[in-house]
């Protein structure tokens, strides 16, 4: 489903963030991208929704070479991917509910069905009771759960998370990972980048370990 083949990513200035990375993640699989800070985890994840483009090699998502995808086709690629970031990227001038509704605003769903979907997503992450709150009123763990609700509301086939537990305590981090595991159990492919070895150890999942831009495991 997600395939990296000899992927090199070189930033302007010559810094090589990824050096010939190759791997495949099958549909419905759960995999951690592990590695220290600066190992290339974020760069690797950014190549999947074409936030960055590879300097060499190919990144395939469902058979589509996203490295060569046209700008106009990007939104349609990204709608099929659920993205969760370390800094959540929430809109702090909107309510919890409005944040989750955002990806549905440019979809084909009618108002009633969109509202039902948004509330269902909030319920899955345990935030339905806080739907009218502003994100700033939520704890770090709750904000991350809100980001997950927004990522899954469009029912994507792939969920990608970049250090989603970096700013959370151990309990909240485990709870977030449990949510990802629950989505994985219903068939969603999950890719989580983290440097938290203890957390990785708690889940018996595949680990793709990066060191200085190369896969070492």
């Amino acid at each position: 489903m997600i395939s990296f083949s000899g992927v090199v990513k070189r930033y302007p200035g010559g810094q090589e963030a990824l050096k010939g990375v190759s791997f495949t993640v099958e549909q419905g699989e759960f995999a951690f991208i592990a590695g220290h800070s600066g190992a290339g985890k974020s760069t690797l994840l950014k190549l999947i929704p074409a936030i960055e483009r590879p300097s060499a090699g190919a990144v395939l998502v469902n058979g589509q070479n996203v490295g060569a995808i046209k700008r106009a086709a990007l939104p349609y690629l990204r709608r099929n991917l659920g993205l969760v970031f370390q800094d959540q990227k929430l809109l702090y001038d909107r309510s919890v509910y409005d944040n989750v509704m955002l990806p549905l605003a440019f979809g084909e769903l009618g108002g009633r069905e969109a509202a039902r979907r948004a509330r269902a997503a909030l319920e899955k992450v345990g935030l339905l009771a806080r739907e009218k709150a502003n994100p700033v009123q939520l704890s770090g763990g709750e904000q991350q759960r809100l980001a997950i609700a927004r990522a899954v509301v469009n029912r994507p086939a792939v969920l990608i998370a970049d250090e989603p537990t970096a700013n959370l305590d151990a309990g909240s981090a485990a709870a977030i990972l449990e949510i990802f595991a629950a989505f994985n159990q219903v068939g969603v492919t999950v890719l989580v980048a983290t440097h938290d070895e203890a957390l990785i150890g708690r889940f018996a999942k595949r680990v793709l370990r990066l060191a200085r831009g190369s896969l070492v495991e």
Binding site: P49, I51, A72, L74, P75, Y76, L77, R78, R79, L83, K89, L90, L91, L102, P103, A105, F106, G107, E108, L109, G110, G111, R150, A151, N154
Partner: protein, 302 residues
């Protein structure tokens, strides 16, 4: 189609929301645009009002030929027949002295004066429209006509009207240039307003792009915002124009009354007023389009 309409509804609501969130700035922008647009719109309204005065006069070259007071109708018929055969003339109109007197009687304030006369002092006359406006040719024709013993006076009475017409043409051109300059100003104002909006919403745009919003979806509210801002400016311009004309008409009415006239400066016709508002809206949209085209591409998720 349903989703497309819903997205447009949402974009309009978002644009109104942005205006409502910045009431003071939006009102100030509308006022600046309104004042700028009221200048050419006002000039156009003044010219339209004066056009009714100017249209009363012919702007084409015209010769008036007055016969001697003692000329008989047979003399008039003879010269009329000669003039109608004249190749240099496009139109020959005979105004008998009786008709001229009637027209004079109909003029405000002259009825009593005419009634006090014991005889008609006006001569028979011809109004001639030459085929050419060439001054030398007109002078030659006037000279020939003056040589006729039945003719008392020949008057080339189109010069002032031509001058007035030229003046009106210059004024129209000046207003068009002013309108074009201020239209650029309006586009620049909207361009800058939308640029600031885009920068303010940078985070939202980035997130929207990340989660799959198309450029069209992101652009739409800004287009509506530009259009609404332009439209509001156009409506303010019409308001300023209406109030200014109403104030000016107090003085104009007094002046016109002293000439026995009921002349007033008229507001724009409904179609023209609608055109001002819509044109202003289109310029606002254009400013938004240019701004969005320039700045939206620069915002990409990182």
């Amino acid at each position: 189609m349903k989703a497309w309409l819903r997205q447009h509804r949402q974009a309009v609501a978002a644009a109104f929301g942005k205006l409502a969130a910045q009431k003071s700035a939006a009102a100030l922008n509308a006022l600046v645009i309104g004042i700028a647009l009221s200048l050419p719109a006002g000039g156009y309204a003044l010219l339209s009002s004066l056009r009714s005065v100017v249209q009363g006069a012919s702007l084409e070259p015209q010769l008036s030929v007055f016969l001697r007071a003692d000329a008989t109708r047979a003399d008039a018929d003879a010269i009329g027949a000669r003039l109608k055969g004249e190749a240099r003339l496009r139109e020959v109109r005979f105004i008998p002295r009786e008709q001229a007197l009637k027209e004079l009687q109909a003029t405000e304030g002259l009825a009593e004066v005419i009634a006090s006369l014991n005889r008609n002092p006006l001569p028979d006359a011809f109004v001639l429209r030459p085929r050419t406006a060439d001054a030398a040719s007109l002078d030659a024709l006037a000279r020939e006509l003056r040589a006729d013993p039945v003719v008392a006076h020949v008057q080339a009475d189109s010069a002032w009207a031509r001058r007035l017409g030229a003046l009106a043409g210059t004024a129209r051109l000046a207003i068009a240039l002013l309108a074009a300059l201020l239209a650029f100003g309006l586009v620049a104002i909207t361009f800058n307003t939308i640029r600031l909006q885009i920068l303010t919403q940078r985070a939202e745009i980035e997130i929207s792009k990340l989660i799959g919003a198309t450029d069209a979806f992101i652009r739409r509210p800004f287009f509506y915002l530009g259009w609404l801002q332009g439209l509001a400016g156009g409506l303010v311009a019409l308001g300023i124009l209406w109030a200014s004309l109403a104030a000016m008409n107090l003085g104009v009415a007094e002046l016109a009354a002293s000439y026995g006239s009921t002349f007033r400066l008229g507001f724009l016709e409904a179609g023209d007023a609608l055109a001002v508002a819509l044109f202003s809206g289109v310029l606002g949209w254009l400013g938004a389009y240019l701004s969005v085209s320039k700045y939206l591409r620069e915002i990409e998720p990182k």
